[in-house]
Symmetry: D2
Subunit: 115 residues, 4 copies
């Protein structure tokens, strides 16, 4: 089993043994994921971009924990919807390679934001 | 190299060849991730929980694409901050196992939301 | 002065006297606003739609506080960008009236989500 | 009727005549609000803080429209939950005045983020 697959199974058991599966509709999981993404955001909101590149140990740990939360809900949602995250990520990346030809978008945030 | 590691490298090259690395401060990536989490959310906002469990093919594809976007930005952020996503996810899961003893929280959304 | 205007002034003074104005770039305020919207979301994530319509007193107070946070950051951002919230809201509503002709979209979440 | 009250009534009619009231549970509205906050965020994600302070006309209009969307959903939610936005905002501001004594938090993002 892949590493992602192994966490998915652990998450499934975690929910089952607590009878929390009833709360894990894809709709609810999308909310929980966005909520955690919001908490991650809050860790960075008053930092400058430069400060965000050199976090203190305390900040790094807080950020890692929020990233873990986002990841866990993403995996839980993937499990519920039978999504192969590695596959869809690779597909999306291939799509983006075509959508943003390097010679046309190089160094431009504008081109970037247009998508 | 692990699967996650291989996508990280691809993402790094994707940004480098477009000279987009300059935009990828952790602060900015946290915003992009939250933005994509918001788009994922929008796919579910007018669906009932039941409907979210049986998506049409079209809905499923749209959801998969937003999940891919969230995942790609999460991996990009992990690369920038030297975070091992698998490790932090496993650690967080272990922590949650202790925090939510099954016999105390079983079937309760209240206990769940208290964290 | 309008009610909104009076809160804007209070917020301006609140930031000034704490020397927090330096943190209130529109970029940062958009993050703070989204963070608070995420906290609001978390109050509802494990509730059914029905439960969200009949909140307990405790839930109602928590929700009200998150709504206040969203509103305060929205007003702060409006002040920084010289946006007249009442005006843009009325304009947007007029635009939506035209965009969604009642006889075409009535009762349809699909039409709704297409925008 | 106050200005906010007048928009609330317009929004109520807007939903009623389209038979969209059925979609406007507080849960769903919190999702829509967070989705719009995410779109607002996306307008700023690749801008520097400095750039976010001097938007082009085009950027300003896009930002104003997203702010209007956030505001409209906030008002709709306030209507559904019988929340007086002006009152809760003023209460929250008074609470924050006490929570962050100027002489203790002046100029510190750290104190700010601790809440």
């Amino acid at each position: 089993m892949s590493d992602l697959g192994s966490i998915k199974v652990k998450l499934r058991q975690f929910a089952q043994v607590r009878d929390w599966d009833q709360f894990h509709s894809p709709k609810n999981l999308s909310m929980a994921l966005a909520g955690e993404a919001g908490e991650l955001l809050e860790r960075f909101q008053w930092l400058t971009e430069e400060q965000s590149k050199s976090l203190s140990l305390e900040q790094q740990q807080a950020v890692e924990e929020e990233m873990a939360d986002v990841f866990l809900y993403l995996l839980r949602l993937a499990d519920k919807l039978n999504v192969d995250l590695m596959e869809v990520a690779n597909n999306k990346l291939a799509k983006n390679e075509l959508k943003y030809p390097p010679e046309k978008v190089r160094g431009s945030a504008k081109k970037y934001t247009e998508y």
